[in-house]
Amino acid sequence: MTRTADVVVIGGGIHGCSTALHLALRGLKTVVIEKDYAGRHASGVNAGGVRQLARDHAEIPLSVSSMAIWERIEDLVGDDCGFESHGTVLVAESEEELAGFRARVDDLRLKGFTHEELIDQAELRRLVPAVSEHCPGGVVSRRDGAADPFRTTQAFRRRAIERGAEVIEGVKVTGLSRVGDVWRVETSDGPIEAPKVVNAAGAWADRIALMLGEPVPLTVIAPMLMVTSRLPSFIQPVVILRGRKLSFKQLGNGTVVIGGGHLATPHRDRNETVLDWEKLAISAATVWELFPVMRQATIVRAWAGIEASMADGIPVVGPSATSEGVFHQFGFSAHGFQLGPGTGAVMAELVATGKTNVPIADLAITRFLPARKRGEVPL
C-alpha cells in the first residue's frame, strides 16, 4: 500500500528537520526522508557559527528571522542547543578593508538592517583583547553566537517527531513523479504520495532538482574544521576574517574551533571526505599570526562535512520553476546552519499557504535559468 502524507521533506539536515517541525506545528502530516541519519553531513559537523554578520543581502531576511528563534531556541525545541551569544566580530586588517566595511554597514542601514555595527580599534580590542595590533577596527554583530550543530539538528528532529512528523532514516529517494494531483516519491523503502515536496537534500539536492528537469550549478564541497587542545579563555566572540578564509571561536571547555572555508575533497557517493592538511596548516598559521596566544596550542582533530555550494554563493529557497507543489531549500554554501530555524518557518509558510511576505525572490531557482526562460527580453 502506498503511504500518503501532506508533505514529504527530502533531507534530514537542520533545514529539513526545521521545516518539518514548522509544518507539523501547522498541523500538516509531514514525512522526512533521510538517506543516512539526521545531521550526518554538513548540519552535524559544521563550525556551529550562529552568524548574521557579513551575509549577502539576499539572505539577510532569513538570517534575522532565524536569529529571532535562536535567541529563544529552548522555548521552541526544548533544548538550548548549546547556543551561546557573544557576538561575531569581522576583523579588518587594514584601513582600506575597514573603509569597505563602513560602506557596507551604511548601505545596510539604508535598507533598514541594524545588526551590523562598525567598531573602532578600541572597541575591537575590548571585544577581542588578544587581536594583533595591526588591526584598525572591524564590524560586530552583537547578538551572534555559536551553538552545537549536531545537538541542534537532533533537537529539531526530536521536537518535529513530538509534534507529529515522521522521520524515516536510512532510506534513499530514487525517483520523483507527478501522479494526478500528487507527487509520488519513490524510495528504497517504497513509494510515498504527497501533494507537496520539499527538497532539502543538501549536497545531493541537485540530483532531486534534475529529476524535475531543473539543472542547477551545484558544487559539492567539504569545508574543513580543526579543533585545538584546551587553552586559557582568551576570547568570547566568534572571529572571522574576510581576506584570509578564516573563522574561529573558543568553546566553553577552552578548545578552539578553526574553520573558514578551506576545503577537503568530497566524495559524495561514498559519503567520504579527504582532508587537505596543507590548507589546514594555512588556517593554523593565520590564527597564530593574529593571536600570538595560540602558538602553544596543538591541533587535536580535524574533519570535514559534505555540503552544497552554489555558483553565486547563496542558497536556493522557493518554489520549483517547473513543478507545482515542489519547493527547494538547499545550496547554503557552507553558511546554512544559522539559517536553519528561520528558513524552516518561512518554508513551512510557503508550503502551507502558497506565499510568504518574507522577501526570498532573490533566492529563487529561476536565477539559474537562461534569460530567455526567465522571460527577460535580451538586448
Binding site: S65, A68, E71, E74, D75, R143, A345, E349, T356, N357
Partner: protein
C-alpha cells in the same frame, strides 16, 4: 479652556490624545474639518507618548527614540488648527453622536457629525493573590510616572509578566538607574510552539530587532526567572513576592511589584455608545467590529488606534489617519487628503508581526482565571470563588453576575474585572467568552458629579418624565 467656551457642535470630535487621536485630528483639521480633540490627561501623548510635551526626563536614551517620535505628532497636532482640550473627560457618547464631556467640574453636551474614538488600550487585568496591596502596580504605571514626572523606583523592585512592553519598561527603568531584583517571566514555554507559525511575518515587522535588542539589554542587567505562579504578600503593603519556578517555590522581599500581561482595548466608551463588539481569541479580549476605514456598527462613529484591537503606537497613528480620511471625505468631499492606500500599506507593515507577538505573549490561563480568595473585582472586592460559585448557581453571564455580586459596579466600571469575570464564567459553565459576553455598559463611563449631571440641558418632556 473651560466647558463654557466649547461650541455646541463640531464637525468632528476626536476622543483621546494618543497617537491615533493626534494623527486623526491633525489630518482632519488640516483638510479644513472643524475638529475638537478631548483628552483627559493634563497633556497630549496618550500613554505611549505620555508627557511628550513636558517630560522632565532629559537623557533621551532613557526612553528611547521611539518615544521621542511622539513629539512630531504632538507638534503637528498643535499646528493643525484642531482645538485640543486637555483635562477633558468624555463620559458619554450616544448613537446620535451627542458627546458628554466634563472639563474642570463642568459638564457639557456637544453635538457632532463624526466621532473618532481613540481611547487606546489599558493593561490586561492581572488578578493574582495580593494584587490590591499598595506597592503592587502595573508596569505601565511605573512607565507613566517615569515619562511624565521623571520618577524611578527605589527599593527592592520586582517585575512580573510577559509582553513586549514589559521588556521595554525594564530597559527604560534600568537605563534610568533603577535596580530590578528580578523579572519573573510568566510566558508559557508552549506559546513558542503556537507562535512559531507566525514567525515569517514577525521577522519583517519592526518589532523583531528592537524586541530582541531589549531582551538582551535587560537580561544583561537583571535576573530573569521563569515563573508560573506569582503572589504578592504583605499586611498593609507589599513586603514579599512568592513565586513558583520549575525548581520549586521561591520568596523575595520586595517594596514594589510591577505587573504586566499585555494591553487590551479600552472599550468602555464605544460599548456604552452601543458599538458592536466581538471576542478576539488571539488577543483574548473584546474589540469593536470595524471595517477597513475603522467605521463601527454605528453611523458616523469610528474607533481607531489600539481601541480597535491592539497593534501598537505607530499602527495607531496610521489607523487614526485612515479614520480621519474617511471623515474628511464624508464631510468635505472636495478637500484634498493623502492617498489612503499609502497609509494602508504602512499600516499593513506595522501590523505584520502582531500575530507572532500575540501568540508568544498570551498569558497563561492560571493568570487570567484566578481561583479561591483572589480578588477578581478590585472595586467591590469580589473574589474569584464567589464568581465561580455564582456561575455554578446557573448565572450564565456577567450582567446577572453583576446583579448578584456587584462585580463591575464600582467606579472603575468593570475595566479591571470585566475580562476576568467573562473568562471565569466561560470556564465554569464550559462556554466561550464570546457566548458569555461582556458587561452591558452605560454612561457615565467615567464618574461625573451629580451637580454636573444636574446642570445639563433638558427638554420639557424629559422633565415631565420625572416631575409628577
Amino acid at each position: 479652556m473651560n466647558a463654557s467656551e466649547l461650541q455646541s457642535s463640531y464637525e468632528l470630535v476626536v476622543v483621546g490624545g494618543g497617537p491615533a487621536g493626534l494623527a486623526a485630528a491633525t489630518l482632519a483639521a488640516k483638510a479644513g474639518v472643524q475638529t475638537v480633540l478631548f483628552d483627559e490627561n493634563p497633556g497630549v501623548g496618550g500613554q505611549i507618548y505620555r508627557g511628550i510635551t513636558n517630560t522632565p526626563v532629559a537623557d533621551r536614551a532613557i526612553l528611547g527614540e521611539d518615544y521621542w517620535a511622539g513629539a512630531v505628532l504632538a507638534s503637528e497636532a498643535e499646528a493643525s488648527g484642531a482645538t485640543i482640550v486637555n483635562g477633558a473627560t468624555v463620559w458619554s457618547l450616544d448613537p446620535n453622536r451627542l458627546v458628554g464631556v466634563s472639563i474642570a467640574g463642568q459638564a457639557r453636551m456637544v453635538k457632532t457629525q463624526r466621532v473618532i474614538v481613540a481611547t487606546g488600550s489599558m493593561e490586561r487585568p492581572f488578578p493574582i493573590p495580593g494584587w490590591t496591596l499598595p506597592g503592587v502596580m502595573t508596569a505601565g504605571a511605573a512607565q507613566t510616572v517615569l515619562k511624565a514626572q521623571g520618577l524611578v523606583p527605589t527599593g527592592r523592585t520586582i517585575m512580573a509578566g510577559c509582553g513586549p512592553l514589559l521588556w521595554l519598561l525594564a530597559a527604560q527603568l534600568l537605563r534610568a538607574g533603577a535596580k530590578i531584583e528580578a523579572i519573573l517571566d510568566t510566558a508559557p514555554r508552549i506559546n513558542w510552539l503556537k507562535a512559531a507559525m507566525h514567525l515569517p511575518g514577525f521577522l519583517l515587522s519592526p518589532y523583531w530587532s528592537k524586541g530582541l535588542a531589549l531582551l538582551r539589554e535587560v537580561k544583561a542587567k537583571a535576573p530573569v526567572i521563569a515563573a508560573h505562579r506569582v503572589e504578592a504578600h504583605g499586611k498593609d503593603k507589599l513586603s514579599e513576592v512568592v513565586f513558583a519556578t520549575g525548581a520549586g517555590e521561591r520568596r523575595m522581599k520586595a517594596d514594589l511589584l510591577l505587573l504586566h500581561h499585555g494591553v487590551v482595548p479600552n472599550v468602555n466608551l464605544a460599548m456604552a455608545a452601543g458599538v458592536a463588539h466581538r471576542w478576539n481569541s488571539r488577543q483574548l479580549c473584546f474589540e469593536p467590529v470595524v471595517d477597513a476605514d475603522f467605521a463601527t456598527s454605528l453611523r458616523g462613529i469610528a474607533v481607531a488606534g489600539d481601541g480597535a484591537g491592539i497593534a501598537g503606537g505607530t499602527a495607531a497613528a496610521e489607523r487614526g489617519r485612515i479614520a480621519a480620511i474617511a471623515a474628511v471625505q464624508a464631510l468635505r468631499p472636495a478637500a484634498s487628503v493623502m492617498d489612503v492606500q499609502t497609509v494602508r500599506q504602512s499600516l499593513a507593515r506595522e501590523e505584520m508581526g502582531r500575530a507572532f507577538l500575540d501568540a508568544l505573549y498570551q498569558p497563561a490561563p492560571s493568570f487570567r482565571r484566578p481561583t479561591g480568595d483572589t480578588i477578581a473585582c478590585r472595586c467591590e472586592e469580589v473574589t474569584a470563588r464567589q464568581v465561580r460559585d455564582t456561575a455554578d448557581l446557573g448565572c450564565e453571564g456577567p450582567n446577572q453576575m453583576k446583579a448578584f455580586l456587584r462585580c463591575g459596579m464600582g467606579p472603575c466600571q468593570g475595566r479591571l474585572c470585566g475580562l476576568t469575570v467573562t473568562e471565569l464564567i466561560a470556564e465554569q459553565r464550559r462556554s466561550t467568552p464570546d457566548e458569555v459576553g461582556y458587561y452591558r455598559l452605560r454612561p457615565p463611563v467615567k464618574p461625573i458629579t451629580l451637580a454636573e449631571l444636574a446642570s445639563l440641558p433638558k427638554t420639557e418632556a424629559e422633565r415631565k418624565a420625572v416631575e409628577r
